[in-house]
Amino acid sequence: MTDSSPRLVAQESSGGGSCAEASSAVAVHGLTKMFPVPLHPARGIVAVKDLNLRIEPGEVYGLLGPNGSGKSTTLKVILGLVSPTRGRTEIFGRNSRLVESREAVGFLPENPYFYKYLTGEETLRFFGRLCGLRRARLKQRVNELLDLVGLTKARKRRLGTYSKGMLQRIGLAQALIHDPRLVVLDEPTAGVDPAGSREIRDLILDLKRRGITVLLSSHLLAQAQEICDRVGILADGVLVREGHLHELIAIENQTELVIADASAHLVDEIESMINRSDAKLIERRKSTTTLERLFLEATAKNDEGTTKQT
């Protein structure tokens, strides 16, 4: 579907503001992480340097940056998998080096493999048991999560036969097994096709609707833009930008008007009004859809055709 709305972009002057909240889902205070170089203990590779972060409950926070910028290291320190060289990290006010702080966290690592010899159902049962779920409650939860991530039909298949997208989805299900208040996702859509990627994005948006805090790292900027409330950009272990997404990417002196079913005369009239004012018209063009939407529509139609033929 192609949108036929004309798009007008005009310059203006505007302001914005932000508010800070007291309690945090994740707090990172002056975090520095150095990895020692073998045989040169005095030297070290600085993965993260003096990082300060505060993620509020219920928001989707994107930690962005190129490969090697320190995203995964930051997540690992927050999860207590790696100890900080300096600084402190907290999850809902509890030091994240304490095991009990992980009661509130679900984690999906980048490119997870899990145990190939287990089926989807066995995998969720295993992780559920680790979180103290038992018998009927565990069974119910496993069923709900398999349904949620669309793997009910594949529940008896070993993970060795799962596709990349299916592995990501079972990974997301295990992260949610104990109903965490914070979900940490390391490159959740890396290597997943657009349809799978869209499903994971929808799941993240559903978590947000439930009030679950989501911290994700990604270098897929378009996707992060769609789902994140706030982002932080890391470069060489340093936080170079941070804030609400709409504030960071807004062009302060420009405004977009998207109009449906406007006649050429109306658009011309608006344009002439702009020309008569102090503002300047920068661009006039037809609205376009995204390549992702086009791809999903095309492949969905093709699927329908195939189903009908068979």
Binding site: V99, R102, L133, V149, D179, L205, L207
Partner: protein, 311 residues
């Protein structure tokens, strides 16, 4: 899967399921890791290959050369108990060497430790899974060995009865008693338990080595050295003490060597069993305690190193 469907499913979660509050130590968490490790290992081909080789070797001992029934039973016990010892030791090393490095390489360890699971419980669960696997394989091989021994005992008894058809009943009874005492006897049980404890010790030591090894191959090579040195160290220690004084420094050094390379020869009670020598309760208890002590120490060391490990 639509958004509305997701939302309705997610709403059910809040109402229905909440995990139990965290406790610093949980047997059920350890049990979950133990059973998962056991499942992992029993679904590996190497387990079946080793088990089949062990069972074949035990089964083939039935066809060994026979001079007298005593010799036959001796050979059968020697080969079978030797096979159980070697294959459980090999299984302990090969199965354990891959456990931690594989989990780290596949990032599975991240998903486990990102849950409220203390690291020592993870290590404990892993080693318990291996020990359970070793117990199962020792039981299976022992059962095969005892079955073969029983079948041979029955065959020898029948043959003897045929040969002594006209002999007085007392003579026949004496002959049968002699056969039975040299075949199945309770002395084999402590021997099998010690073989199992030796495999437990090797598994725990392999787990410890694997906490700082970078590859599985490195762990297996180190353990191969430990295995051979462990079997030779008692002789080397005796030679050393004959040549040098047994001062404090020497004793500390020897204790350190004994910790790195446990005296595996001390766990070899097969020769006594084959020779028909009864294993004293004191010797059995001493050896068993040594095995349990080493297994505990190496497990604690593995947990300690893993606790500080950067993942």
């Amino acid at each position: 899967m639509t958004n509305s469907e997701n939302a309705s499913t997610l709403q059910r979660f809040n109402a229905s399921t909440l995990a139990k509050p965290y406790h610093g130590f949980s047997l059920s968490r350890i049990l979950a890791i133990t059973l998962n490790t056991l499942t992992e290992l029993t679904r590996l081909r190497v387990f079946y290959v080793l088990l089949v080789f062990g069972l074949l070797l035990i089964g083939s001992s039935i066809f060994m050369a026979q001079f007298s029934f005593q010799q036959e039973f001796q050979i059968l016990k020697d080969i079978s108990l030797g096979a159980i010892s070697i294959f459980t030791s090999l299984l302990a090393i090969v199965a354990t060497a891959r456990l931690l490095p594989q989990d780290i390489e596949d990032r599975t360890v991240y998903t486990i430790l990102a849950k409220p699971v203390p690291r020592f419980e993870y290590v404990l669960g892993k080693i318990a899974g291996v020990l359970l696997l070793l117990a199962i394989s020792t039981l299976m091989m022992s059962a095969a060995f005892l079955l073969v021994l029983y079948l041979r005992e029955q065959a020898v008894i029948h043959a003897t009865m045929r040969q002594m058809a006209g002999a007085p009943p007392e003579q026949i009874a004496d002959a049968l008693r002699a056969i039975r005492s040299s075949a199945l006897n309770p002395d084999m049980l402590p021997g099998i338990i010690i073989i199992y404890l030796k495999a437990c010790l090797l598994a725990a030591l392999t787990l410890f080595v694997s906490t700082f090894a970078s590859t599985n191959i490195f762990t297996i090579v180190v353990m191969a050295f430990v295995y051979f040195i462990g079997h030779l160290q008692a002789t080397a220690r005796e030679y050393w003490l004959q040549e040098h004084s047994s001062g404090l420094l020497t004793r500390v050094f020897l204790a350190f060597v004994a910790l790195l390379f446990p005296d595996l020869q001390a766990f070899n009670l097969v020769d006594d069993i084959v020779a028909g020598t009864a294993i004293s309760l004191a010797l059995f208890a001493k050896t068993a305690l040594l095995g349990i002590f080493y297994t505990t120490i190496y497990t604690l060391l593995a947990a300690f190193v893993f606790y500080g490990k950067e993942l």
